[in-house]
């Protein structure tokens, strides 16, 4: 199986703090990580490859420092990595981002042959949109399954376990297809010392707008349909009432009184 995984380098949002003076996000000193859902996608891809044979390629669109994230992917089972980096990509919304990624996917397919599966995380933990995967599928004209937690290939059938409101569906999908992955039962593996050293030595090829035929009008701010008018940190109301009486039963009585008085129940 020839599998492509799209990954994004993101700030570790669990570590993000708000600057109390400027009320903005403090990104300085916050570690960059591979988007966790992308790591789950990569783990599923590598497991498939180990069973079926084939190759796993990773790509990422981002600044030069995103090479670090790609190297991390090489250390946990990917064979090849490309960074898509160009000033023209700055300010892209999901429509422009998915156009850029799909343009490079077409380019890579000319050299490497068709990908059977293009995989992404279900969403990145910074933007949280979950739109780039389905939009790549649309640009490439492929079938898609989102919210996947497992993949099985049996007698030429590709089956995807997809979350639904009450549990899961197993969905048979016609390949090539785009699959977006949520947290699965397979935790991403750790790199070994040996694989880490090898990945560090690897050269990551950087591709830009000169590497391929791409419509610059569809990239970056120019190619974006949406515009961020304003961003701000949400106001947290700390008007909550915390009850701590001597006994549990006294606390519950206070709570019940409050709930009844305020017509919650």
């Amino acid at each position: 199986m020839n599998i492509l995984v799209c990954i994004k380098q993101v700030p570790d949002t669990t570590e993000i703090k708000i600057n109390p003076v400027t009320n903005t996000l403090m990104r300085e000193g916050v570690a960059s990580i591979v988007n966790p859902f992308d790591s789950y996608a990569l783990e599923l891809a590598v497991r498939l490859k180990e069973k079926q044979g084939g190759k796993v390629t990773v790509i990422s669109m981002g600044p030069p420092q995103a090479k670090v994230a790609l190297k991390e992917c090489l250390s946990v089972g990917a064979e090849e990595a490309y960074l898509l980096s160009d000033r023209a990509f700055g300010g892209s919304d999901t429509l422009a981002t998915s156009y850029i990624l799909s343009s490079f996917i077409k380019h890579l397919e000319k050299e490497n042959g068709k990908f059977d599966l293009v995989m992404c995380g279900k969403q990145a933990i910074d933007g949280d949109t979950g739109q780039v995967g389905p939009e790549i599928a649309e640009h490439l004209g492929l079938a898609q399954v989102t919210y996947a937690t497992d993949i099985k290939v049996e007698d030429d059938k590709t089956l995807i376990k997809r979350e639904n409101d009450q549990g899961y569906d197993w969905i048979q999908v016609l390949t090539p297809a785009v699959i977006t992955v949520t947290k699965s039962v397979f935790e991403p593996r750790y790199a070994t010392l040996k694989s880490k050293i090898a990945a560090n030595k690897a050269e990551i090829e950087v591709l830009n707008t000169e590497s391929i035929d791409i419509d610059l009008e569809k990239c970056g701010l120019k190619g974006s349909a949406t515009k961020v008018m304003k961003s701000y940190t949400p106001i947290k109301d700390n008007n909550g009432i915390v009850i701590k009486e001597e006994t549990a039963s006294a606390s519950v009585k206070s709570l019940m009184n409050l709930l009844v008085d305020n017509k919650v129940i």
């Binding site: 949280d128 995967g133 349909a225 709570l255």
Partner: protein, 336 residues
């Protein structure tokens, strides 16, 4: 903008499955009405499903001026291709100005596909919708960075403008049985080979009849429960309140309860009338999935737990002592 003048009316997509609507669809008729009135245009409910004429009539009683109804057995369950293609046929024919879609698993699946095919902007997971009278665009407000940052987003030059909106953010409009509206039935030939996915097996993990996303009361348990058997505390409290059972990621990862119950960034986004978090510390990922609840009640031993920062009411105490008394008090209240 001239090319966009022909785009008219506000569409709300009412998602159905097994012939039943998802709650968020009717909820979106509330902001839909507001935007339609501002634009002086019609509010149109768009729905696909199997035998759903009753849902079409209900949408009118909730204030839709028109319903575009596509009935076909193929829509009993969701598929990306059937919904995307049908939706595109309708957009091409009727050219709406604004489209609201519920930010459900399926809404977030086909929404981007439609937006991309139209080459337009889609704002994901909105928690507020308003109208920017200076730019004449809908202003979509959404959280990012797991809720640490809010952004106001607009789609300036292209119509339709689109957004997915989180369930539970808006209340359903008041039902008015004497509302009048037109139901337009559409039918499209959907060739079987155009559908590239097929559901081969469905596994139900939630045994209760109450769907988490639809529940008005949710009682959730977390790491503080200590072991799987102790979820009985959560179930008992939920059943006393007629609510559904939720959980944090920690409880799911420990194998105490199936993932379908999980609330948070890697689980479900819920916004019930009452959310009771028991033994849940309140990691930002959990908060991202429940902070839109009307009333949040937290029970936790640790007075410094972040859950108390979002809770409207909190009890600092041992949940194993608090919950049994709480159940007794609720029973007493119900009988009073």
């Amino acid at each position: 903008m001239s090319a966009n003048l022909e785009h008219k009316n506000v569409w709300v997509f009412i998602e159905t499955e097994y012939g039943k609507e998802k709650k968020v669809g009717f909820e979106l008729l509330t902001p839909g009405r507001k935007i339609a009135d501002t634009l002086n245009q019609e509010l149109v409910a768009v729905m696909f499903g199997k035998d759903i004429k009753n849902i079409a009539k209900e949408a009118i009683s909730y204030g839709a001026d028109k319903v575009i109804l596509v009935e076909d057995p193929i829509f009993e369950r969701y598929s990306t291709d059937a919904v995307t293609n049908t939706f595109m046929n309708l957009v091409d024919k009727y050219k709406p100005n604004t489209i609201f879609i519920g930010a459900t698993i399926n809404g977030r699946d086909f929404g981007p596909r439609v937006a991309c095919r139209l080459g337009t902007g889609l704002t994901a997971d909105c928690t507020e919708i308003s109208y920017d009278s200076e730019t004449n665009n809908v202003k979509w407000t959404r959280p990012a960075f797991g809720g640490n940052l809010m952004a106001d987003i607009e789609c300036p030059n292209i119509r339709p403008q689109m957004g997915t909106v989180r369930p539970g953010v808006y209340k359903k409009p008041l039902k008015q049985e004497n509302n009048k509206g037109e139901i337009i039935e559409e039918k499209f030939d959907i060739p079987e080979d155009a559908i590239r996915t097929k559901i081969v097996e469905t596994i139900k993990e939630i045994s209760e009849d109450i769907n988490l996303e639809e529940a008005e009361i949710i009682v959730s348990g977390g790491r503080g429960l200590g072991k799987a058997e102790n979820f009985s505390y959560i179930r008992d409290l939920a059943s006393a309140l007629g609510g559904a059972v939720g959980s944090s990621r920690a409880a799911v990862d420990s194998g105490w309860i199936p993932h379908a119950h999980q609330v948070g960034q890697t689980g479900k986004t819920v916004a019930p009338k009452i959310y009771i978090a028991c033994g849940i510390s309140g990691a930002i990922q959990h908060l991202a999935g429940m902070s839109g609840s009307d009333v949040i009640i937290a029970i936790n031993k640790d007075k410094d737990a972040p859950i108390f920062e979002v809770a409207h009411y909190g009890i600092v105490g041992d949940l194993f002592e608090v919950i049994p008394v709480f159940i007794k008090e609720i029973e007493k209240y119900k009988n009073s």
